[in-house]
């Protein structure tokens, strides 16, 4: 490893050969502004097209300014990041970007969260010297059930393209056309719904402007809550409690489970329930399905499909329906927790409350944008009435709380309502990569071996590496497990299974970086991956503090089976809690 010495703003610094000026500056606390550059270090995701030219710096002896994000350091280099020449150039670059950007910031969905807006403020741009009556590039707006594209606001940073193609390998978006008309779009500039888009929303999660945003459903929730003929109940996904606080200025990783329940109650939800309850239910069904397939396999049944793949993640479901239509019988047929919750709420719970299905409105709060797409899939409706009526993101919930004049910081800690609010530690870790399979192992182990687990934590399944593998000893039978997060890693894992390189019994896949904690509906991380790591740790902490940490020990789950479902994989369970997949092959 060769070390290079240089000075940046008169401060000497020593870094490895190959380091960029941008990274070297960061090391000594100098944060050079950038727009297109993005580096999610813990996750190995980098976008470095060197296109925006905001990050330029002065290098002694060099004729022109250097883009710091894509210029490697050299021995003895003297770099200045804040000279008048640099500041002027940055301001001019910003002016040029803004000359072809709408000026309707006050009514933009990204108002207050926009990186372009805050950078313009930092750089002190006060006027835009553009040609009078100059044309602006305009594009057709596109809305899917999850994502909206308003490409007039695109600055061609191409972060979304990196996420869609390199990280997720979905290939829905590409830079098209050239010059003034250049934009990021699906093939033939068709609608997203016609493209192979999985609605994972990672393009939205990294967009520095309002070009890519989620479909905002907050007004539908407000109207439903105000309708006296409706009983409106809410479920909250595990990852939301580890991130919602960020929207109210709390440190990343602060758990706000109790305050969130209190806020939802004050918003007017008749019952504040927990998707975690349905996560426990998912383990009962998926775990039973796993054990069923494994026992048949061990008895030599050749018709059994292994590995079993988790099916909680809606973007992942969209991904395999589009890319692996030949493997539709491999994933678990268990519905996702969101949809299991909806199905149980609109049957079991509606019956208990004596509310008609049409009068019960089920809202979900999700870290995810693909959940919006999932809840409107036809197979999750009964006579046109969806099991889950509306799905909103963590960001939308924060917005609702602010709109309702609720002071989040001063809220008391409250509990979820029963019966659909009780959950175990196993359900909480659904929100992070490796969590679902660990929860499944805790239950499957005890059922398969008939023994109590001595050690509940399966640390070998945890971590943030993109692909992880482990073998768990089920009392002499080794169960091989694969875990992937980000769809590109899922593709690698699945291609490995197809080619016979891997021999797994079970695989967990989550579409987003870090799992749901890094979901596209979470507060923006603005390129700081330590935020995702903090949320990841928070969920394991919450699990640790729970008294019950295995799904099959949740008393309300036991009761649900006694009173209503019978046993896992029963006919009622099959009807309500399982689904099937469709061939949606697209290129």
């Amino acid at each position: 490893m060769e070390l290079i010495k240089l000075t940046i703003d008169n401060t000497p610094v020593e870094v490895e050969k190959g380091t960029t000026i941008y990274q070297a500056a960061k090391k000594i606390g100098i944060k050079i502004p950038a727009l297109c550059y993005m580096n999610l270090e813990h996750l190995g995701i980098e976008n470095r097209p060197g296109g925006c030219r905001i990050c330029v710096v002065e290098v002694a002896g060099r004729r022109n300014l250097a883009p710091s994000c894509s210029t490697s350091v050299m021995e003895g280099m003297v770099v200045k990041t804040n000279t008048p020449k640099v500041l002027n150039a940055r301001k001019t670059v910003m002016e040029l970007i803004l000359s072809d950007h709408p000026k309707d910031c006050l009514i933009c969905p990204s108002n207050g969260k926009c990186e372009l807006q805050s950078l313009a403020a930092t750089l002190g741009v006060r006027e835009i010297h553009s040609v009078e009556n100059a044309a602006m590039s305009t594009y057709r707006k596109d809305a899917s059930p999850s994502l909206k594209r308003d490409m007039d606001k695109c600055i061609m940073c191409r972060r979304c393209e990196t996420m869609c193609n390199e990280v997720q390998t979905v290939g829905a978006l590409s830079a098209v056309n050239r010059g003034f008309m250049a934009v990021v779009a699906p093939a033939f500039e068709q609608d997203l719904v016609k493209s192979p888009c999985t609605f994972c929303g990672q393009c939205v999660a990294v967009c520095p402007t309002g070009a890519l945003t989620e479909v905002d459903d907050t007004n539908k929730i407000i109207r439903a809550l105000a309708d006296p003929s409706k009983t409106v109940v809410v479920q909250t996904a595990p990852a939301v409690r580890a991130a919602l606080g960020e929207e109210f200025g709390l440190e990343p990783g602060t758990r706000v489970t109790g305050k969130m329940a209190a806020a939802l109650r004050r918003l007017g939800f008749a019952k504040v329930f927990d998707t975690d309850f349905a996560a426990d239910l998912t383990i009962m069904e998926e775990g039973t399905e796993l054990l069923d397939r494994i026992s048949k396999f061990l008895k030599g049944d050749k018709s059994v499909k292994l590995p079993i793949l988790t099916s909680c993640c809606p973007a992942w479901v969209n991904f395999f329906e589009t890319n692996y239509p030949d493997m539709l019988d491999v994933p678990s047929s268990a519905k996702s927790p969101q949809q299991m919750f909806g199905a149980i709420a609109k049957t079991y719970f509606a019956g208990k409350m004596n509310v008609k299905r049409e009068d019960l409105v089920v809202v979900s709060v999700m870290p995810c944008l693909a959940k919006k797409f999932e809840c409107q899939r036809d197979e999750f409706k009964v006579n046109g009435n969806p099991d889950v009526d509306y799905s909103i993101s963590t960001r939308e919930l924060a917005h609702l709380i602010k709109m309702a004049n609720i002071d989040f910081a001063s809220l008391p800690e409250e509990d979820f309502d029963q019966p659909l609010g009780e959950s175990t530690g196993a359900a909480v870790i659904f929100g992070t990569t490796g969590g679902v399979i660990e929860a499944a192992v805790r239950t499957a182990y005890e059922i398969f071996t008939g023994n109590k687990l001595n050690k509940i934590d399966f640390k070998e399944l945890r971590g943030l590496e993109g692909i992880r593998t482990a073998s768990i000893d089920f009392n002499g039978t080794m169960i091989n497990i694969g875990i992937a997060h980000q769809l590109g890693n899922a593709r690698k894992l699945l291609d490995g299974v197809r080619s016979g390189m891997y021999n797994f019994h079970a695989i967990e896949i989550m579409a987003c970086p870090g799992g749901c904690v890094g979901g596209a509906g979470q507060p923006y991380h603005h390129g700081d991956s330590s935020i995702i790591e903090a949320r990841h740790k928070a969920l394991y902490k919450e699990d640790e503090e729970k008294t019950i940490r295995k799904s099959h020990e949740n008393p309300y789950i036991i009761k649900l089976y006694e009173e209503f479902l019978g046993k896992p994989m029963s006919e009622t369970a099959h009807h309500l809690l399982h689904t099937h997949y469709f061939d949606k092959h697209k290129v």
């Binding site: 290939g171 978006l173 590409s174 830079a175 098209v176 050239r178 699906p186 093939a187 033939f188 290129v587």
Partner: protein, 157 residues
């Protein structure tokens, strides 16, 4: 976009072209060049087929097709006219020649005559500045043009 219907024989032609480049995604531009040579243009279905063969997203193919002005998604005329508007041709009166072509053919730049015989496009410099102003019809080069010669040239086709 077009009424082009992809037949099995077309699929075979595209497959052969992709095979000849070992289905290398990095050969996309060469594959598109050859494919356009066969079909005259690159309609949607042809791009999808290329994407499938090279195992890359069709969005990527479309991105390349729309980036390079050489590639076209509209059918060209039997004789594609490309008029140079590069600096040398421009200062020597290319615009007047262009106007005459438009007048004679009754079409605008980027269009095809109703009988499908001619299409008219502009480009920037063919590297024959000594012959300015220059026009290409198919592969044939016409140099030192002025508007009075346009009618006569078109009569050859």
């Amino acid at each position: 976009m077009s009424n082009f219907k992809l037949q099995d024989c077309h699929k075979k032609q595209i497959k052969d072209i992709c095979d000849s480049f070992n289905n290398e995604p990095g050969e996309l531009i060469n594959v598109l060049h050859k494919t356009q040579g066969v079909f005259g243009y690159l309609p949607e279905d042809v791009q999808r087929e290329v994407a499938q063969n090279l195992n890359i997203p069709v969005a990527k193919v479309y991105g390349v097709v729309t980036f390079y002005s050489f590639f076209t998604m509209k059918p060209k005329g039997e004789h594609a006219i490309s008029l140079c508007l590069g600096t040398a041709c421009y200062v020597r009166g290319a615009e007047l020649v262009l106007d005459e072509f438009k007048k004679q053919l009754g079409i605008e730049v980027g269009q095809v005559t109703p009988d499908g015989k001619f299409s008219l496009d502009c480009l920037r410099c063919v590297g024959a500045c000594g012959l300015a102003p220059v026009v290409l019809i198919g592969d044939k080069v016409y140099g030192r043009l002025d508007p009075s010669k346009v009618k006569e040239i078109l009569a050859n086709y």
